[in-house]
Amino acid sequence: MTWKAAANAAFRFFRRGIAVPFNSTIRRCIARLLKQASAIAALAIVACTTIHAQATSFDDAVALFAARSFADSEQAVGQLQISGNPQAYSIISALRDGRLYADDDTKKVFIKAADGKITDAATGQPVATMPDVAGVVRLNNRLRRTVEAALGNLTLLSPDVTTRLQAAQSVFKNHDSAALPLVDAALKTETNETVKRALAVARAAIVLFKSDASEAEKLDAVAAVKARGDQEALALLSSLPGDLSPAVARGATSAMASIKSNLALWSTVQDAWYGISLGSVLLLAAIGLAITFGVMGVINMAHGEMVMLGAYTTFVVQDAIRTYQPAMFNYSLLIAVPLAFLVAGIIGVLVERTIIRFLYGRPLETLLATWGLSLVLQQAVRTIFGPNNREVGNPSWMSGAFELGQITITYNRLWILCFSLAAFTILLAMLRYTRLGLEMRAVTQNRRMAASMGIATSRVDALTFGLGSGIAGIAGVALSQIDNVSPNLGQSYIIDSFMVVVFGGVGNLWGTLVGAFTLGIANKFLEPVAGAVLGKIAILVLIILFIQKRPRGLFALKGRAVDA
């Protein structure tokens, strides 16, 4: 080994372990220094005193691979792991992938990258060629396990936050006491709060399973695991060895009880969130139906197909954007919403003018005719787009999720909730403040009187039907984000939407809102108890029983005109 290599290794270690003046971003380092002055000073002393020893031990460890024996390799991996050298990770991963070569004569070790580039393992410097005598360092199963564990531990020091977090989680799960010094080292340098917490909990897990840890340490560890408070913490506590001191065992039991009750609470919150999310979907699907049914007394069985048309509009928009303007993909939904409203709305007006207009006063026939229409629309879409599911992508701002306490909230569900509430509010405002809204309300309350006052009821009918269908279309845009876009998309929502309308009552949008969220939440709370299918059946039965009490729904219109 050359002095240059040693110096280089030392330099790298220095730079990695304690970021001092060599770092180009000095200001950040100074800030960090000021923040953690004491910790770093302490570590610096340790590092400086051991630096020579470490550097040589690192190089010796690397050279051990050249011995070509499994035992030596294992020892080398163990030493590399605790060396804290930034090269350690790439060396060990190269060993795992069979890309690590060693030259017996010079005791030099090389890494062959996947693209064929050769680097010196000890220094990380590129090397032009490898000596011909160099051979692959071999592995056996036992060594492979050691390598995997070492890699898991080593990623604790990875520059990438997610990798560090995952490594901390994996240490928490396997609570291997060998990782303790590494975790301690990582804890000292860690700056990210989340990772720091994860590391602390991982350390606690190790301490709990370490037989020679003191009782006080273990109690602290129990408290730390309790603070984590999720399913995994519970699993860890329940798998604790039996030889704990009584105080620790008591602490663990009470921690488990508190975690359990906490988790039960969170699971209720989670169910409620799922329920609200389902409710928002139902609201979107049912709100247009409520308008057409409420104002015109028309049961539109093709409503689900309007939803489907909206979803297919989204697909077409995304397809066009992918072909012509891939950069615009994130805006695809913003373009799709008005287009879907127009497409479904125009088809709605056409349907009203050509079919439904002739069937006023014959609700049962309207139901049949619109059912026929739904068959035609479905088959038309099937003919044009094929019977299979179509791929509709999530824009980046709608994909992913975030954690809130112990529950995970996906962005697309959250956006759909906001979207449905926005649609509801806009519709409500429209009914309340615009002329069309006024006319629609008048027609709902008393068609003949409205006509006598000079409202063109048939025009209002056409616009109402167009509006209801248009809203179904934008519901389709939202549903395309969480459901399969297929010709059958609408059918799966139609019965549920009807249930919402029947439950909430017609002629009042608030009824639809309350109905949708009640049914959504009730459904999700019944699901864990009774299973998805039985839960749904239970809901249907409950609605049938509910109708006994209030045949016209929760928010029924009152008055003489209702029965007409």
């Binding site: 049962l364 049949l368 035609v376 038309a380 249930m499 039985l534 249907l540």
Partner: protein
């Protein structure tokens, strides 16, 4: 005037019964007695196909009874049909006995497959034919009675009723799809062997089933006709046309509705029971809401409130369906069906038979008034009286 209308109904009813009886006798005879080479020979599969149509016709009759005469549009009548079918299917499953794939003497194959050890209690008794037939009648009637009692009592009418019946059949669809429900789950009941000791695949049994279906059609027709022509039937029509007014006249509307709804479900159940041995399978898709709505359109095509029309519509639409879905036109069948829904409701609200009646009535009326006109012309001075 009224006299001629009754006579025309009578004549069509007689024609209808004659056709049904003729088909019920001639088709099986031709199938069994004539050699396969004869041009008049009816192959077994054609007979079975028509047997299916006849069962559909009975279902259509049951729907016409409530929709055409009482104004109750049930979008869940397929559920009663399927329940009757399941009861019969359970009997047929029990008849398989040890001949199943797993050769269990008591448990049907799917239960052995699901690792069930004993027969669920609701399968008891289905090894006896009379019990199965009793259930075929009782289960749909009981469901209809409970459902109707709840619905009519709280005055759920019109589209609301249609929607909750649709929800009912949807709920049953979901339930029967479940394996642990004990009715074969997704696959349903199939692979039948014997019916009353006769092989269900044999032509003789098929012929007998066809004849029985025709008999059931004739009997249900006579029964529905008896109901709608009685005083009870007049009240049903009154309920259809003005429910509140009938109520105010002192009739207990909900009792009438409940009676006719239950009767209708019972007929639908019987139709399902005869349907299953002929098609050889019953599975949850029979509960699909789409099926029930399709049955309603048969009635609409034939003519609601005519009974004969309902049966005719079922046969015509299903014949067209077989014709279209088997050939190159298969992708267009749904367009056809959808267009049928729209066009019939828009252009032919009385259906085929109803339009035919109206046309004949119009012609007779015209003839009458022509007579009256000419009489008035000859005997001037007396003002011509229009009929009625």
């Amino acid at each position: 005037m009224r006299h001629t209308l009754t006579r025309s109904l009578d004549r069509s009813a007689t024609t209808f019964l004659l056709i049904v009886a003729g088909a019920g006798i001639l088709l099986p005879l031709s199938n069994l007695l004539l050699p396969a080479s004869s041009p008049l020979h009816v192959p077994t599969y054609v007979m079975t196909l028509f047997g299916k149509y006849v069962c559909y016709a009975v279902l259509a009759l049951s729907i016409d009874l409530i929709w055409g005469y009482c104004g109750i549009l049930s979008l869940g009548h397929g559920a009663f049909f399927a329940l009757g079918g399941y009861a019969m299917g359970m009997y047929l499953m029990r008849q398989i006995g040890p001949r199943g794939v797993y050769a269990d003497p008591v448990l049907p194959d799917f239960m052995v497959f699901l690792n069930w050890k004993t027969l669920p209690w609701y399968w008891y008794g289905f090894d006896m034919f009379w019990f199965a037939i009793l259930m075929v009648v009782l289960v749909p009637s009981l469901l209809a009675f409970c459902f109707g009692w709840l619905a009519f009592r709280s005055r759920v009418t019109g589209v609301y009723f249609s929607i909750i019946t649709q929800a009912m059949t949807y709920a049953l669809l979901l339930a029967f799809f479940r394996n642990d429900f004990g009715f074969g789950g997704n696959n349903g009941l199939t692979d039948f062997k014997d019916l009353l000791g006769f092989n269900v695949q044999a032509s003789g049994t098929r012929a007998a089933l066809f004849a029985t279906s025709c008999l059931l059609l004739a009997l249900s027709f006579l029964m529905c006709r008896a109901v709608v022509r009685s005083k009870l039937g007049k009240i049903l029509i009154a309920i259809r046309d003005a429910e509140s007014r009938t109520r105010f006249l002192g009739y207990r509307v909900e009792s009438y509705k409940l009676f006719v709804f239950t009767l209708s479900a019972c007929i639908a159940g019987l139709a399902g029971a005869l349907y299953v041995p002929q098609v050889g399978i019953i599975n949850p898709s029979e509960f699909a809401p789409g099926n029930s709505i399709e049955a309603v359109i048969w009635v609409a095509v034939g003519g609601r409130g005519t009974l004969v029309g309902a049966a005719l519509g079922a046969v015509v639409v299903n014949y067209a369906k077989t014709l279209f879905t088997s050939g190159a036109l298969a992708p267009y069948w749904l367009f056809m069906l959808g267009a049928l829904f729209i066009l019939v409701t828009l252009l032919l609200p009385k259906g085929l038979v109803g339009t035919w009646y109206a046309w004949r009535e119009g012609r007779q009326r015209a003839a009458l008034s022509l007579d009256a006109d000419s009489a008035a012309f000859e005997d001037s001075g007396v003002k011509p009286h229009m009929a009625e």
